[in-house]
Structure formats: structure tokens, C-alpha cells
């Protein structure tokens, strides 16, 4: 128990330098132009001198850079992400986007785990069969494809050609799709979730298959078989438990990658999430908004990693002792 607590504290402590690192990187980019007022000038077409004066006062732009960083960090720790170029507080803008992004990410994460593990196990149990070739082929296509391009293709087929599903936004503006608000929500979710699920599915299937093949060759599997256990018990109780621990890490890292991969997919589907908002904000050089979204996504990735670490410690208690 004591070692578990020490493990948790160690993981928590690791988050601090990571968070600081990201904070420094994002702040540094915002200040890469020397005085960020130059960036704001590039972002706003015709900045009002009064607005510039207000921004200068608000962000302490007349102070040296290290002082500004400390001001900014201080605000950040207190949950104040500043004001975007549109004049609204960043934090209140970010909340709704966070939920739409999480909705998409978590749904496809669950789907890809639920589908991916049995498919990977099946593929490894039938190595070099036709089904195995089909599955590994589909998987390698999945991670060789730009996510958003698959999205575009599905939009062309299912929205533009067949007209079955909506292609942009998270809800309809004028009248609900399929005549009902819940169905409308579902209809908008189908295409982006399908794309995201397929892509993360590819990684999971591939890893489960490779790990299972390696584990199934171990002596203790032979011993389990020799003691007369059913193939099902050997596969799921003995092999999968050991094959799955590296996969947990990959799923955790994959969640981070998926969060960061959100810009392209969300832009394709005009999905009103963090990624879409980030893209727009970065293109218009709305630096406070960009910094805010980066920080929020970093925090979410760190939390996801923490959860991953706990799950990992639960599956494979050896990591605690190290």
C-alpha cells in the first residue's frame, strides 16, 4: 500500500515539469515576435488604439518577458486563461468545445477497445488465415491514412451522394435530422465516430495481435494447456491478461495523440470542438485562445495518462515496486 502511494505521488510529481514545459513552450511561441502586440496586430486587421492600450495594460505588455510569464502562469494556476481577441473570456468559450470533443473522443475510444481486443485476439488465434490477412490488411490501411481524408471520403459517399447522414456540426441548425432531437444528435455523431474508431481500432488490433502472438509462445501457456484448461480459459485468462498491459499504455498515449489529432477531423466535419476551435484561433492568430486550448488539452492528456498509469498498476503490479 505504501508503495502504491509512493507510485501515485511519483506520477503526480512528474506532471508538474510536463505542465510547466508545455506552459513555457506555448508562452514562448506567443512571444516569439518579441512583443506579442506585433502578433495581435497581425491577427486583427485594423486594431483600435484604445483596444491595444487595454490589451497592453491587461497583459502587462510593457513589462519584461519573464515577468509577463509569471503573471500569465499565476493567472493560469488560478483558472484565468485571459481574454481572447473577440473580447470574451477564454475559459467560458472553451467549456462547450471541451464537452463536444470529449463526447467524440471517449465514444470512439470505448468502441475501438470493445471491438479491437476481440478482433485482435481472433486474428492472433487464426494467424496466416484469410481472416487474419483481411484484418491485418484493414489495420495497416487504417494507420496509413490521413484521418481527415477518410472523413472526406465518407462525407462524399454518405452525405453528398446518398444523403443518408449529415456532414457538418454536432446538431442541425434548422430542423432535426430524422425528425427527432436525440436521433439528430446520433446522426451527427455517426460519421466522425466511425472515422475515429476505425483509426484507433487499427492500432489496437495490430498491438493485441502482436502481443498475443508473443505471449502464446511462452512456457506458462504450454503449462496451462498441459494441465487441461480449456482453450478459452488459456486465451482470455492467461494470455490476454499478460498481452494487454503494454496495450493500456498505448491506449493512454493514443488518447493524447487522438486529442491532438482532433484539429483535422473536427475541421472536416465542422465539429464544434477544441480541435476545430484551435485551428480557427491559430489561423486568426488569437494567441490567448490558442494558449488556453493548448493548456486545456495538455491537462486532459495528463489526466488520461494518470488514469492509464493507475490501470497499468492494477493490471501489472510490478511497476509499483520499481
Amino acid at each position: 500500500m505504501a508503495s502504491l502511494i509512493r507510485y501515485i505521488i511519483r506520477r503526480l510529481l512528474f506532471m508538474i515539469p510536463v505542465f510547466l514545459g508545455v506552459a513555457i513552450l506555448t508562452f514562448a511561441v506567443g512571444n516569439a515576435a518579441g512583443n506579442p502586440i506585433n502578433l495581435i496586430r497581425a491577427g486583427l486587421k485594423n486594431p483600435n488604439p484604445a483596444v491595444l492600450k487595454a490589451l497592453t495594460d491587461y497583459y502587462h505588455l510593457d513589462q519584461p518577458v519573464w515577468k509577463r510569464f509569471l503573471y500569465w502562469l499565476w493567472d493560469l494556476i488560478h483558472g484565468n486563461l485571459g481574454v481572447s481577441l473577440s473580447g470574451r473570456p477564454v475559459i467560458s468559450q472553451i467549456w462547450p468545445w471541451t464537452f463536444t470533443t470529449l463526447e467524440l473522443q471517449i465514444l470512439s475510444l470505448i468502441l475501438s477497445i470493445v471491438i479491437g481486443i476481440p478482433v485482435g485476439v481472433y486474428s492472433s488465434k487464426h494467424q496466416y488465415s484469410k481472416a487474419d490477412y483481411a484484418i491485418t490488411g484493414a489495420a495497416i490501411f487504417g494507420y496509413s491514412m490521413p484521418t481527415f481524408w477518410l472523413g472526406i471520403m465518407l462525407i462524399v459517399i454518405f452525405s453528398l451522394d446518398l444523403g443518408w447522414l449529415p456532414s457538418n456540426g454536432a446538431v442541425s441548425v434548422s430542423y432535426p435530422w430524422w425528425g427527432d432531437n436525440t436521433l439528430d444528435w446520433l446522426a451527427h455523431l455517426i460519421l466522425p465516430t466511425a472515422v475515429l474508431t476505425y483509426v484507433s481500432l487499427a492500432t489496437i488490433v495490430r498491438l493485441v495481435r502482436a502481443n498475443m502472438l508473443e505471449v502464446m509462445r511462452q512456457d506458462y501457456i504450454l503449462a496451462a494447456r498441459a494441465s487441461g484448461l480449456s482453450e478459452r480459459t488459456v486465451t482470455y485468462r492467461y494470455a490476454l491478461r499478460n498481452a494487454i498491459s503494454p496495450i493500456v499504455t498505448i491506449i493512454g498515449l493514443g488518447f493524447g495523440a487522438a486529442m491532438a489529432g482532433a484539429p483535422a477531423l473536427e475541421t472536416t466535419f465542422s465539429w464544434p470542438g477544441l480541435g476545430y476551435a484551435f485551428t480557427q484561433a491559430a489561423l486568426t492568430l488569437d494567441i490567448p485562445l490558442v494558449e488556453g486550448i493548448t493548456i486545456v488539452i495538455t491537462v486532459m492528456v495528463l489526466i488520461a495518462n494518470l488514469i492509464t498509469d493507475f490501470v497499468y498498476a492494477f493490471i501489472d503490479p510490478r511497476v509499483i515496486v520499481q
Binding site: 502578433l39 496509413s144 462525407i155 462524399v156 508473443e214 484539429p263 489561423l283 495518462n305
Partner: protein, 296 residues
């Protein structure tokens, strides 16, 4: 250091090549890669239209679907999609290869140092490597690309993207190299070199690093695919160099018109898929050939 007797058995590279030759998907991947390399080198000299040219507009072909004259169709603005896709191969391969070259050099150096030495420096290096796993790399790549292209480095073009990709992309290879160095540094052949009086850096770069080349080669091959994919995303979102032909830029221009001009979106996308698939298959084949432990 190698004992050079005139007659010796097959070296490890010959053995690996023999194994790779039997791997059908690895060979198919290499064939795709060779195809794209040839297209990238020869293509720009033989295509009908120069890069980023709106010539077809004046020929009255703007927005026409695929035809004999324009195999991949024409954009509304008059850009011939086939010529542009071919020339993009040149630029996208440049991004993939250059970024991989830089990240491999950085990754091997940092990983070897972090794995070999003990103490504060190696702890800090490991922390930095792990940090790069956690930070939302793509967001920072987009941000850097936008800010630096607006303000600081005008006209650096794709090289700016290469440098940004490299800055954020070296940690994977460093992590693997660190682990392998850590594993090898107490092996007998290293102790033998040490007892003969070899210095730390000689041991590291003459004895240890050559022994971890095979995982490095595999990851580098897969990294080429990854960097090309990232560049496609960067350009698709409008953060790339608008004056250089890339697949992502074509997809960016095609997306608003996908309802009518589907050909602008399909063909460059297929080029990306096959190119990346080629590198991934080749990397998997190399992995099988160089790590006999994983073979049955």
C-alpha cells in the same frame, strides 16, 4: 574493428536481406516506396504543367473532371491535379526524409547519452524525452508553423515545416535508443572494450550504437510515414507553405469544392495513402527481418 578474413559466413545484414526477400508485404512496400522515389525525382521534369500554375484556366479547362489530357482533373482555379500530385511527391518525400534524418541524429545522440551515463543529466534527458510523449505535439506544430511563418522566417517554405517537425519528433527514437543502450552497456563486449581502455564516447559510438542500428532503421522508416502524414495534416489545415505543391495543400484547396470537384480530393489522398502504406509495409518487413526474435 571488424576482423577482415577473406572468407567468412554471411554477415548479419546479408542474413537480414535474405529474410526480407522472403517477406511479400515488405517487398510490396519497398516497390511502392521505389515507385514514389522515382516519381519524386523524375516527375517534376516530365509533367505537362509547372508547379502551382493556373495554365489550364487559359486553356478553358478549369474545373473539368478527369480526362485524357488531365488524368486527375483540374481545379476550379485551373491547377492541373495530376501535375500537382506528381510534384507534391517530390516535396512530401523531402519533408519525410529530411525530418527523419534530423530526428534520427538527435534521437540517437540524446538516447545514447541518456542511456549510457548516470546522474542528473541523464535523468533530465529522460524527463525531457517523456515530456515529448505527453505534450499535444500536433497543436504545437500548428502553432509554431503559423507564428513563425507569419513573423520570423519568411520564405523558408517547407524547410520551416521540416525543422518544426524535427523539433517535436525526435523523442520516440531517443526513447528506444536509451533503452537499448541501457541494456547493452553492461554486456561483455562493452566491458571488454572498457578493459582495453576505450573511452566513454568511443564505446558509445563505436561499440554500442552500431549494435542498435536495426531498431533505429525500423523506426526511422516508420517515422518517414508519420512525418508525411503530419505534413499532410499541417498543409490541409492551411498551416503549410502556400507556395509549394504538397498533397495536403491540394486537399486543402479541394475540400471546399468536394461536392462538385471530387477529383481534387480523391487523387492526392490516394497518393498519400499509398506512399505512407509503402513506408509502413517496408518498415514492418524490416522489423521482421532485423528482429529474428519475433519470427517463428
Amino acid at each position: 574493428m571488424s576482423p577482415s578474413s577473406p572468407k567468412r559466413g554471411a554477415g548479419q545484414w546479408a542474413v537480414a536481406w535474405r529474410r526480407f526477400r522472403r517477406n511479400k508485404s515488405g517487398l510490396a512496400g519497398s516497390a511502392i516506396v521505389i515507385f514514389f522515389v522515382v516519381v519524386a525525382l523524375v516527375g517534376p521534369f516530365v509533367v505537362a504543367y509547372p508547379a502551382r500554375s493556373y495554365l489550364s484556366l487559359y486553356e478553358g479547362d478549369a474545373g473539368t473532371p478527369p480526362s485524357f489530357k488531365h488524368p486527375f482533373g483540374v481545379e476550379d482555379s485551373g491547377i492541373d491535379v495530376f501535375s500537382e500530385t506528381v510534384q507534391s511527391a517530390h516535396n512530401d518525400l523531402y519533408v519525410g526524409l529530411a525530418a527523419t534524418l534530423i530526428t534520427t541524429l538527435i534521437g540517437v545522440a540524446v538516447g545514447a547519452l541518456a542511456g549510457y551515463f548516470k546522474g542528473v543529466v541523464s535523468d533530465v534527458l529522460l524527463g525531457v524525452i517523456q515530456m515529448f510523449f505527453v505534450i499535444p505535439v500536433l497543436l504545437l506544430i500548428l502553432l509554431f508553423a503559423r507564428v513563425f511563418s507569419v513573423l520570423v522566417f519568411h520564405g523558408l517554405g517547407l524547410t520551416l515545416i521540416v525543422l518544426i517537425l524535427a523539433f517535436f519528433g525526435w523523442s520516440g527514437i531517443a526513447f528506444i535508443v536509451r533503452g537499448e543502450t541501457f541494456r547493452l552497456k553492461e554486456m561483455e563486449f562493452v566491458q571488454a572494450a572498457r578493459s582495453l581502455g576505450a573511452g566513454s564516447y568511443r564505446i558509445l559510438f563505436r561499440h554500442i550504437v552500431p549494435n542498435i542500428l536495426s531498431p533505429v532503421i525500423v523506426i526511422a522508416t516508420l517515422n518517414i510515414a508519420g512525418f508525411i502524414l503530419t505534413e499532410v495534416v499541417v498543409s490541409f489545415l492551411g498551416f503549410g507553405d502556400p507556395n509549394t505543391s504538397t498533397w495536403g495543400l491540394l486537399l486543402n484547396e479541394g475540400f471546399p469544392y468536394v461536392r462538385t470537384d471530387w477529383w481534387v480530393s480523391i487523387f492526392p489522398g490516394l497518393a498519400v495513402v499509398f506512399c505512407v502504406l509503402g513506408f509502413n509495409l517496408m518498415g514492418d518487413g524490416l522489423s521482421d527481418a532485423l528482429n529474428p526474435r519475433l519470427r517463428e
